[in-house]
């Protein structure tokens, strides 16, 4: 699709921002979603082409403005819901339960 991900040759993007001594993961949630997406692929739920296309379908502004691993989270949620494996409703409910328990 002619989505926002198809960036080659676009102009107006400023300097390439680099972080010195960048860690592999910037936060624990990044570690977890990295693991979950790879392990659900290994469990045969979907494969990398479906994941890429799910990311391509993100709203363009969200794609550009969110940290990289939020793209992975979007793909996991979208595909798992489409396949009926983990529905949006189930996820929302579990989030509410966890939030109530006071954890973040």
């Amino acid at each position: 699709m002619n989505g926002i991900h198809d960036l080659g040759g676009m102009q107006g993007f400023g300097p390439i921002e680099r972080e010195e001594n960048e860690p592999v993961f910037h936060a624990d949630w990044e570690r977890r979603i990295f693991a979950l997406l790879n392990l659900t692929i290994a469990a045969g739920q979907y494969h990398v082409d479906e994941i890429r296309h799910a990311i391509e379908r993100m709203a363009p502004a969200d794609y550009l403005m969110t940290p990289y691993y939020v793209h992975w989270l979007h793909a996991a949620e979208d595909l798992l819901d489409k396949k009926g494996v983990v529905t949006h409703a189930e996820l929302e409910q579990r989030m509410a339960e966890l939030a109530k328990k006071g954890g973040k």
Binding site: L39, M65, Y68
Partner: protein, 200 residues
């Protein structure tokens, strides 16, 4: 939903991911031990030091270098590296005539077995948009000035072949051990956005 800044994610991804993980574990789709194992593998064990060993070995052993350029995956496997997101590798030799640089304009494809996970700048829009159209300007921003006589080749990893640059061996390294040579090879040099140098 609140606007997100580039560097500080809101708490919501963290909560969503905790919820997701707990559901996936409950449904028997994810083993919690496997989660920790795969994180450990990519955070601690797989990284650009692998690729640096490949480069150093190619610098030290001309026959290995020849094999590496002919069949990247096979030669890299000789050193014990290979696997996910590096099943099909091609190694690109920098020469006095040609400077290679690698990108994935469409997403973030990168050779994990030799280089670990890519840095944020490689995955973000500015590099992906700019390096195919103005590679020399991008390289200059990285401190790499390419002479007009040199050909710049930008490799877009849009399919399943994964690319790694074999930088030129710097002068003043005669007789160095492979370990010492590997110490010169930065991650960026294997992407093509750096050139190995002997510190003065």
């Amino acid at each position: 939903m609140d606007e997100h800044s580039h560097t500080e994610p809101p708490s919501e991804p963290a909560l969503r991911i905790r919820a997701l993980e707990s559901l996936l574990v409950e449904k028997g789709l994810v083993d919690p031990g496997a989660v920790d194992e795969i994180i450990e593998l990519f955070e601690k064990r797989i990284g650009p030091r692998n690729g640096a060993k490949v480069v150093a070995h190619a610098w030290a052993d001309p026959a290995y270098k020849k094999r590496l350029l002919e069949d990247g995956s096979k030669a890299i496997a000789e050193l014990g590296f290979g696997g996910l997101q590096g099943e099909d590798m091609v190694v690109l030799e920098n020469t006095p005539e040609v400077h290679n640089v690698v990108v994935c304009t469409l997403c973030s494809c990168y050779p994990w077995p030799t280089m670990g996970l890519p840095p944020n700048w490689y995955k973000a829009a500015p590099y992906r948009a700019r390096v195919v159209i103005e590679p020399r300007k991008v390289l200059t921003e990285f401190g790499v000035d390419v002479s007009p006589d040199v050909e710049v080749r930008v490799w877009d990893s849009n399919a399943e072949i994964r690319y790694m640059v074999l930088p030129m061996r710097p002068a003043g390294t005669d007789g160095w051990s492979e370990e010492k040579l590997a110490g010169l090879v930065t991650r960026d040099a294997m992407i093509g956005t750096d050139i190995p140098k002997v510190k003065a």
